[in-house]
């Protein structure tokens, strides 16, 4: 640092000098040391015989000592005052620290309270999370079930609308019912009936399907609920160019049917020359559709 820079730095530092000089207490205290140093330095130099004699004779030595004493006394007095101020300030600081400590303890208690509250809240949140997860799971299941049921209903509507539109007219009455119910069994309707949900809805939908099948059979057979037709009427395939192909396809489709367990399906698809024993010779549309449903959907039809 150059001399010029040093001087500027000194001046900048000295801007606060004058307020310090205005404090008489500080000046007397600090400057007293400066003055006393001067007296002590001279006193040390005047230890020779002649100097002591001269100082003793003129009284300069005593005057100097008096001045030193006065400065020391003033210094001690100033020290006492400063010590008092420092002690007071320290006491104030200590009280402030106590206050801070007390406030810190209070704050710690408050923080503990907040921490406990936070922990409790977390527990509640965990419980809520479990509940919400469960509920969401249930809702998801419900949504899935509703979706399945919706699809099943659509599936049922599509199948029965096809039937009603005459798409199955080249089949026998029993096979119309069989094909419709088989399409439901392998479609969304069947998925819904096989889903792991409560059986009430399946039973409800199967009931609807049963009613729709009865209604459509009655319509196709031009009968009513009280009328019964012979098995021959139910099983007769209308003549058409594709009748043989359809019979063969239905025979393939229903080849797993058993004449004992599924006599209606067996009779409809396999067209045996001799009807199974358990195949009624006279039956209503309701009997036909109930039997077909039972044979295709099994226990689900009874749920």
């Amino acid at each position: 640092m150059s001399t010029e820079q040093q001087i500027k730095k000194d001046i900048a530092e000295s801007l606060d000098v004058l307020p310090m000089l205005a404090d008489k207490f500080v000046v007397d205290f600090a400057n007293g040391i400066h003055v006393t140093n001067d007296h002590i330095r001279v006193q040390k130099q005047r230890t020779g015989f002649m100097s002591r004699l001269a100082d003793g004779f003129t009284g300069a030595g005593a005057s100097r000592q008096t001045e030193i004493n006065a400065n020391l006394s003033n210094g001690v007095e100033s020290s006492l005052k400063w010590l008092g101020e420092l002690s007071e300030s320290l006491a104030q600081s200590n009280y402030a620290i106590v206050c801070v400590n007390n406030r810190l303890n209070t704050l710690k208690h408050d923080v503990a309270k907040i921490a406990n509250y936070s922990a409790d809240t977390r527990q509640l949140l965990d419980a809520l999370s479990v509940q919400v997860a469960e509920r969401c799971g249930r809702l998801e299941d419900e949504v899935a079930r509703i979706g399945l049921m919706q699809n099943a209903q659509i599936n049922m509507d599509v199948v029965f609308s096809k039937w009603d539109a005459g798409k199955y007219h080249h089949l026998s009455l029993a096979n119309r019912c069989y094909v419709a119910l088989e399409e439901l069994h392998w479609g969304a309707f069947g998925d819904f009936c096989r889903s792991n949900t409560e059986g009430k809805d399946q039973h409800h939908l199967i009931g609807i399907a049963k009613n729709k099948a009865i209604s459509q059979l009655n319509k196709d057979a031009m009968t009513n609920s009280a009328m019964r037709l012979s098995a021959k009427d139910w099983l007769a395939t209308p003549s058409s160019p594709s009748a043989a192909t359809l019979v063969e396809a239905l025979s393939y489709l229903g080849d797993a049917a058993n004449d004992v367990k599924q006599p209606f399906i067996y009779s409809a698809t396999q067209q045996p020359t001799q009807l199974p024993l358990r195949m009624p010779r006279l039956c209503s549309a309701e009997r036909m559709s109930n039997a077909m449903l039972n044979e295709i959907f099994g226990d689900q039809a009874h749920a």
């Binding site: 001087i7 000194d10 001046i11 000295s14 801007l15 606060d16 000098v17 004058l18 307020p19 310090m20 000089l21 205005a22 404090d23 008489k24 500080v26 000046v27 007397d28 205290f29 600090a30 400057n31 040391i33 400066h34 003055v35 140093n37 001067d38 007296h39 330095r41 001279v42 006193q43 130099q45 004779f57 003129t58 009284g59 300069a60 005057s63 100097r64 001045e67 006065a70 003033n74 400063w82 101020e85 420092l86 300030s89 104030q92 600081s93 402030a96 206050c99 406030r103 704050l107 408050d110 309270k113 907040i114 509250y117």
Partner: protein, 356 residues
């Protein structure tokens, strides 16, 4: 009134050691400490006159540096007598009682109307050195018009009873046999230009060395002689205290000056004292050599010493003051900080009350 009160500067006497005051002033300028009123005795009066006639302290200090370097090359003390007589007279100033005794004899003789040899009588009222160069120096460096407009300035002068008698009184005061009468402090701007010149020369008129000066019929000599035991005249603080100075900076030009700050308990006094010996000469006549020692090496060393001592002195005050200031500020900061506690507590309590 300045923000921190009126600052006075006392420039005490001490012959060539007045160079020390240049160093003091240099430090004061650096420390940005203003001076609103000045008093001076002897060489301090001459230094003070230059300062008071300068437009500001910085310029005044600069001029003083220039003057003192000129003094180092060309002493204002032009010998009027052979060297041995100069030394003899000078020895009588502080060390030898012979001339004082002779002066006392003359004084007693005059008191009782006894005849006194003319040469001895002349010796009482003249100096061994010519003050012509000193007058020329004052004329060159002191602009009296600027001095009239300058900051208030007081000089210390001693009502002379005659050079040798003055010496005798001082010697007696030194031995605590009696006290010399107090010096008079004269507001220099209240005087005419001619009176100012005479008073300034009178204030610097070291008895025997320079002739005393007559102002309005009164003979004045070196103001440093008054109130000898307490350096009342050599340390003219009284006019500054009377003028209402709050802070007075006192410069001393002797080792262990017995001037006491305790005589002015109501004034804040900053004494700048030598922290190592200000004496440069040794032997019996060492003090006299210093008093009249206008040579370059001494002047340079005194200027440097004054600068360092002032820095040291103000530094001590600054150190203590800064510590005290920080203590007070920290206390105030603490009080200020605590004011926010209630608000913080209230905010926290409000927040916590929402939890319950």
């Amino acid at each position: 009134m300045p923000e921190y009160g009126k600052v006075g500067l006392v420039l005490s006497g001490g012959g060539a050691k007045g160079a020390y005051q240049v160093g003091v002033l240099n430090a004061l300028v650096e420390l940005n400490i203003p001076v609103h009123i000045i008093s001076g005795a002897s060489i301090g009066a001459l230094n003070g006159a230059v300062l008071a006639s300068a437009p500001n302290l910085t310029e005044g200090t600069s001029r003083l540096k220039e003057i003192w370097h000129e003094l180092a090359n060309d002493s204002p003390l032009k010998h009027q007598a052979p060297s041995y007589l100069k030394l003899l007279s000078a020895a009588g100033l502080r060390e030898s009682p012979l001339i004082a005794v002779a002066q006392s004899v003359v004084s007693v003789a005059q008191h009782y109307g006894l005849p006194v040899p003319e040469k001895l009588h002349q010796a009482m009222h003249s100096g061994v050195m010519d003050d012509g160069p000193l007058k020329a120096l004052l004329d060159k460096y002191i602009d009296h018009k600027a001095l009239s407009d300058g900051i208030p300035f007081y000089v210390s002068v001693f009502r002379s009873a005659g050079g040798l008698l003055d010496i005798a009184i001082v010697l007696a005061a030194e031995l605590r046999l009696l006290e010399s009468r107090d010096s008079e402090f004269i507001h220099i701007q209240a005087k005419s230009v001619q009176e100012r010149k005479e008073l300034l020369l009178a204030s610097a008129a070291i008895p025997v060395v320079f002739a005393p000066r007559q102002v309005n019929g009164t003979i004045y000599s070196d103001g440093g002689q008054g109130g000898w035991t307490k350096a009342q005249g050599n340390t003219p603080i009284s006019p500054l205290v009377d003028a209402g100075c709050d802070i007075v900076i006192v410069t001393h030009l002797s080792d262990g000056s017995l001037w006491s700050r305790h005589d002015f308990p109501d004034t804040t006094i900053v004494e700048i004292r030598p922290q190592s010996s200000i004496a440069r000469g040794d032997g019996v006549l060492g003090g006299v050599k210093d008093l009249l020692g206008f040579d370059e090496s001494k002047i340079t060393s005194w200027i440097e010493q004054g600068y360092q001592d002032t820095k040291h002195c103000i530094g001590q005050i600054l150190q203590a003051g800064t510590a005290r200031k920080h203590l007070k500020e920290s206390e105030q900061a603490l009080v200020g900080s605590e004011k926010g506690n209630a608000h913080a507590d209230e905010a926290l309590n409000d927040a916590l009350s929402r939890l319950s």
